[in-house]
Amino acid sequence: MKKTLYGFLFIFAFILSGATQHPANASDVTKISIDYIARDFMLPPTLSNLDPFAADTGLQGAMLGIADSNTTGRFLDQDFKLRTIIIAEEEELADGLEKTGKLNGLIVTTLPAGDLTALSEMLDESAPEALVFNAGAADNSLRNAECIRNVLHTLPSWAMLSDALAQFALRKRWTEWLLLTGPDPDDRQFSSSLRQSAKKFGTKIVEDIEWDTNSDLRRNAHEEIPLLTNNSDYDLVAVTDRFGDFARYLPFNTFRPRPVIGSEGLQPVAWSRVVEQWGAAQLQSRFTEQAGRPMQAVDYAAWAAVRSIAEAAARTKSADPAVLRAYMLSDKFQLAAFKGRKMSFRDWNGQLRQPIPLVHSRAVVTTAPLDGFLHPVSEMDTLGFDRPLSKCEAFKK
């Protein structure tokens, strides 16, 4: 069965984003309009339907960001607005955008990497000053060789997530990993990133296998999983399974009594409902009240994107994307975003540096960067692509 995501959401979204507007009569109010662009997509079938994907993941985060920012904006005569653009699943991005008319100069997207690249190419022609925030694609390439000058990333890269796991595993001395990779292209990216992190932090992948079992694991996980995990010994099982198809059946079913990390068990995330320290409880409750569900990583990244725009606008008193971009990439910019450290953008590739909570379904286990992983500039730069190794050219000038 296929589930389409956005469907009826269009009208709903417009009403809600309208509701966050302020009656701004005074002519000295600066209007700051942001476009939110997402692509509707069909979810692949999964064995269990316990955890449905929310159709409005990302959008709700951006909407909360607007609401939060308008509270500040009220005191600064700045009025933030969100326009929602959803591209249909089979539609070309260009066709989808044509219908909406001229894009705003500030854009938050949860588009996949291909669309993001296409969008930036379109903007190069029509609006070279436009500033795009990537809240949906974790692809390492976008932070490295294929980085794009006007795209900043508020979602952590796969590399930041896998480095966070590697730091934790190293701290625990769980240095021998069994890696199990799912079939989705994202699973391959995450696994590839885990291999690089293993190299970077000196852990070892003793077995590297691909998931290809077709059986219904709800019935026979206790037979299948031990067979798959009974070769060489390992300290942990790292699994990548973006859609939560099979990984949920690994814990307690492995041949050896070993912890599971990655897409199941201990997960590195930008955000999770279990994050509650550093005032996070307030953000969680605002979000749940608005969306009627917990905040996800992509919601958080979209929220952080809007808040970054608003923070830069408040400090520069400007709505000009070029001014905002320059400020965001300067050392003056800082964002308080409920993870215990001030966040800022890496000026060599536009990635928002941020702590990565390592969570299981009931609690935060710890937060990376872990103590002891030192860095001359920011400990957060021990996660992901650091300046000396960056292959990103577009941010050099």
Partner: protein, 321 residues
Amino acid sequence: MMKRPALPFIFLLATACPALAGEIWVSNEKDNTLSVIDIESLEVIRTIETGERPRGIIFAKDHSVLYICASDSDTVQVMDPETGKILHNLPSGEDPEQFSLHPDNRLLYIANEDDAITTVVDTVTRKVVAQISVGIEPEGMAVSPDGKMAITTSETTNMAHWIDTETQEIFSNTLVDQRPRHAEFTSDGRRLWVSSEIGGTVTVFNTEDQSEAAKINFEIKGISADRVQPVGIRITQDGKRAFVALGPSNHVAVVNAETFEVEKYILVGRRVWHLEMTPDEKQLFTTNGVSGDVTVIDAENLKAVKSIKVGRFPWGAAYRP
């Protein structure tokens, strides 16, 4: 006469001779209790139950009652400190976090963290006098010594909101660094100190025109700059010295309040939040959220002298003679 010293007896003595003794009351956010520390023996002498998630605590000017922000009970509780009994609740608005008592000993200014509102409550009539829309997650609350202005700081909006206490309206908003947590006036009312937890700074304002007088930065050897997170502030009566609690850096900064230079860092417990001083300004008490204890600092020699185990997540602290 008495063979064994019974606690109630000591307690009676303590209240009878205020010059000799005193107490520091500490709210334990995750235990729903207060710990009462005797400032002479430096031991916890009482533990009292409260509403859910007690945070800000403050005594009436005559110390006859204690006001408690019971955040998750959405109320301000009024406690008889002698008996530990709750006398009544005050309407506080949702999720009260910190508050400040007007010099008139009557109006409480309360920051409602979940509601982006500052609520003004009359403690006599027990009625809400005003609600003022402020920024997101209001937290720091202060009333000027002359009672003419109140300050709310909002954590996500990153502002200090200046409220005229006559009209109960905001007359000015000033941006500060990320996540302002606490506001404190100097005793002469000329300056306002605001700590920014994530920004890592303290901004000092001239209250006359809300201009910035100074911005204080902190630097502790061996501790990464983004772990230095200022929260609580205490300024001595003579306006010469300030203490600033620096959160997860586990230090309290000693600042020259005239030159704004940091003179010393004192190591305390983990994630130090708020501070309270004895009236003679000889002792400073710090609440250490993560380690669940209170550090006692000799405020003359600037040395930590003892740590006292209290409940889980100690938050606020208030002195009582």
